[in-house]
């Protein structure tokens, strides 16, 4: 307890506020875990959260931490609500000897709110496959890391895949593609890219919003039935996905023509809807399905001791793998930062930010981590916070997902200028200036 807190206690608002513990300068790396295990998005949020936590436990049990620095973590329940997420962020950001390592908010809305706060607190945000698409531009978004993919790359890859199915992108002319989306920033993010693609190829884009959380979609599917679009893109989350599939079946829309984003293509979305999901396809950021060596290590070092965060059989599911990947990226960023700033020491958010910007995970490294082909090799830079974006299309056969496409790379010649324009617009609104090359250099000097 420091003096400040003692005064505070004297004021009489006691234990509720006695939050800043006196942390000994221990060799610990604190990783905050924002999760939602309750509410309408819990079925999807839970395996994600379990994957994140189990991987950290496994690294502690198997390797004794990161070069001897033990990983500590704490979960905070956001319920997918932005205000609760902000509170959790404030609660966890100062914990541990060096503060929070990096935040994975698990929600686009919370990411937006934290994007304004993270630069002030010097904590990186890591949002693989979600968050703000423009944040791939590290020149403006210094603290955001949409590593692997964004919503724009998802939309781009989906259109490319549909074009391939039709026999070429030029064949999309005159076609009608509907976007059934969660009416929130999450669902609206892909629209600019789809509009751009629609202009390029001459297809008609129909926008069909679904009010969150998406249990009521009758009117949307009535519109689909009337308009008979050639394809439907599904941008849902949680209960919205399974409802959409059931409604599609009820309104007689073929699931073979429905394509979901990464977050609409996981096991909880299709498992409980029976035959309604058969033939439905969705994107997957991961290059492999099922368990990896890392997952087996989790079974061996965590689940075998009865310390698993969830049921054993969810290990290796898509969302679980996703959580595992996020924790792996965080851990590897800490390791990278240690190489630069001192092995065996806890790293600050600022140092980890440098590492996220200088990640170099090649195939050899991924193999040694036990991720094999699950994640593609990643390298990031000062201006590019995403890496080369790819994803595969998978189809549900009633029992499991099967890949139907090789990894498709998003068209960076189309994306890069759009990202730059959007990032510049953001910078202008926020009165920020673009980072200079010297700024990238100076970070490396620290």
């Amino acid at each position: 307890m420091n003096t400040r807190n003692r005064i505070w206690l004297a004021v009489g608002l006691c234990s509720l506020f006695a939050n800043s513990h006196a942390w000994a300068q221990a060799k610990e790396q604190f990783i905050p875990l924002l999760v939602y295990r309750t509410g309408p998005y819990a079925p999807n949020g839970t395996p994600w959260a379990n994957g994140k936590q189990d991987y950290l436990k496994m690294v502690n049990a198997r390797d004794g931490g990161i070069n001897g620095v033990k990983i500590t973590f704490e979960e905070c329940e956001t319920g997918y609500a932005t205000d609760r997420g902000v509170e959790c962020y404030e609660r966890l950001k100062g914990k541990g000897p060096t503060g929070a390592t990096a935040f994975d908010p698990q929600s686009t809305g919370i990411t937006f709110a934290l994007t304004d706060k993270a630069p002030g607190d010097k904590i990186p945000l890591i949002t693989p496959g979600y968050g703000l698409s423009a944040a791939a531009d590290g020149g403006v978004f210094k603290w955001n890391f949409p590593i692997l993919d964004t919503y724009w790359t998802a939309a781009d890859i989906l259109i490319q895949h549909i074009g391939k199915k039709e026999g070429g992108l030029e064949k999309l002319k005159g076609k009608k593609i509907a976007l059934v989306y969660h009416d929130s920033p999450y669902g609206k993010e892909p629209i600019p890219l789809l509009q751009e693609r629609a202009r390029m190829h001459g297809f008609e884009l129909q926008l069909l919003p679904v009010t969150a959380p998406g249990v009521e979609q009758k009117s949307t599917w009535l519109q689909v039935r009337q308009a008979r679009p050639d394809y439907v893109l599904l941008w849902g989350w949680g209960v919205m996905n399974s409802t959409a599939l059931k409604e599609a079946q009820a309104s007689g829309y073929p699931r073979e023509k429905m394509f979901g984003v990464y977050w609409s293509g996981t096991e909880p979305d299709v498992k409980d809807v029976g035959t309604a999901a058969n033939g439905y396809s969705a994107l997957n950021m991961q290059n492999e399905l099922g368990t990896t060596k890392a997952a087996q290590d989790i079974l061996k070092y965590v689940h075998a001791k009865g310390e698993g965060s969830g049921p054993k059989d969810e290990v290796g599911s898509i969302l679980y793998n996703n959580g595992m990947i996020i924790s792996m990226l965080t851990v590897e960023a800490v390791r990278r930062a240690q190489e630069r700033f001192g092995p065996g020491k806890p790293m600050t958010g600022e140092q980890v930010r440098w590492a996220f910007e200088n990640l170099a995970l090649d195939q050899k490294k991924l193999d040694s981590l036990g991720f094999g082909k699950l994640v593609r090799p990643i390298s990031t830079s000062c201006v590019d916070h995403m890496g080369v974006p790819t994803a595969r299309v998978q189809t549900w056969d009633g029992a499991k997902w099967n890949f139907v496409s090789p990894p498709i790379e998003a068209d960076l010649s189309l994306l890069k200028p759009m990202v730059k324009v959007a990032a510049d617009k953001y910078a202008a609104e926020k009165k920020l200036t673009r980072r200079t090359p010297a700024d990238c250099q100076s970070d490396a000097m620290k």
Binding site: F17, E77, T82, V86, G94, F112, T115, L132, S309
Partner: protein, 354 residues
């Protein structure tokens, strides 16, 4: 013994009409303000400011606004979230579209826009009452949700539909640090609480209360229901609108319509009911109960060192919170403010009750 007014004689009408006629009350409120303005900024840490005090102050302000409508004028509203949203988005638009717009002016303009919308949705109150009015104000909620989600103009054509504000400053001082944000909110809340207290003590407040208690009788003694009800809607939505703008600008910084959803409307209505209908003080009690208690409950397991998973903790939090609301409503249906008043009554007699 300590708390009684014996010997405090009022020799002027002014003295008799003070907000706090009793010396002890004046001292107490002075102490509270002194602590809030001077001691808290020195003592509290960042988490307390950002996650507890700022949301508490802003939601107190919103509850205060709603209390004028529901508690003083008796018009039940389920559209508070909508009026907050109108305030927030209007202030955002004034900031984004007008160059060099000062923050304070934008906040007040947000409040004024909310007033206009509030009065508009208050018009049905002239014909319908009670539960039916609640349903009519519910329409405001759904309309606002729809408008801010679907009309790109309101979000300044933001592609994701989420808006955010740039750095804030008032009179050249940056409102960036948690302490400055807290003091900014605190000042606004104090000013509005003082204004509201004086309004409800004045003729307007008495008209509202007359309408609340029996509108026919009020009309008979010469109170115009149109004027009384619409002014209540106007004042209430102005305060709520300013609170909404603060919620967006100061607390969230970046928001989407979900920040002002129907849940927010219910939350505020609960604050007013639990805090005490028709009491300025009650708004603060209610906000404290609804904002602080869940935070407290969610941290209890960690504070006590009980290893509970967040799932169980958050379910427990809902259960305890829910049962406490029910308990309070059974034990003291008039809210925490009445509890407070009863306490003061008892204190006057202490230690020699009859």
């Amino acid at each position: 013994m300590l708390y009684r007014e014996n010997g405090q004689f009022k020799t002027t009408y002014r003295g008799d009409q003070q907000i706090f006629p009793i010396l002890q009350d004046r001292t107490a409120i002075g102490l509270v303000l002194g602590v809030a303005f001077l001691l808290v900024p020195l003592a509290a840490n960042e988490y307390v400011f950002r996650a507890i005090l700022i949301p508490f102050l802003i939601l107190s302000l919103a509850a205060l606004g709603l209390n004028i409508l529901v508690g003083y004028c008796g018009q039940i509203s389920l559209g508070t979230g909508a009026f907050m949203a109108v305030g927030a988005y209007a202030a955002y638009n004034f900031m984004a579209r007008v160059d060099g717009m000062p923050l304070l002016v934008a906040l007040l303009l947000g409040g004024l826009t909310s007033t206009v919308v509030g009065v508009l949705f208050g018009i049905p109150s002239l014909r319908i009452k009670g539960l039916y009015l609640a349903v009519a104000t519910l329409a405001a909620q759904f309309f606002a949700d729809w408008a801010f989600l679907r009309v790109p103009f309101f979000t300044n054509n933001s592609s994701s539909g989420s808006v955010s504000v740039a750095s804030l400053s008032v009179f050249g001082m940056a409102i960036e640090s948690p302490v400055s944000k807290y003091l900014f909110c605190l000042t606004i809340v104090c000013v509005f609480a003082l204004l509201a207290k004086n309004l409800v003590r004045g003729h307007l407040g008495r008209e509202w209360m007359a309408i609340r208690d029996m509108d026919v009788a009020a009309a008979v003694i010469g109170i115009r229901p149109v004027y009384a009800k619409l002014t209540a809607f106007a004042v209430s939505s102005f305060i709520v609108g300013v609170a909404g703008a603060l919620w967006g600008f100061v607390y969230l910084g970046s928001w989407e319509p979900a920040a002002f959803s129907i849940d927010r409307s219910f939350q505020l209505l609960f604050m007013v009911i639990i805090g005490g209908l028709g009491s300025i003080m009650g708004s603060f009690f209610g906000a404290a109960f609804i904002v602080l208690l869940p935070l407290f409950l969610s941290q209890v397991p960690a504070l006590l060192g009980i290893p509970l998973s967040v799932t169980i903790a958050s379910h427990l939090e809902f259960m305890i919170f829910g049962s406490l609301i029910v308990l309070f409503l059974i034990v003291e249906p008039h809210g925490l403010a009445r509890l407070w008043a009863t306490g003061k009554e008892k204190l006057r007699l202490w230690p020699f009750p009859h």
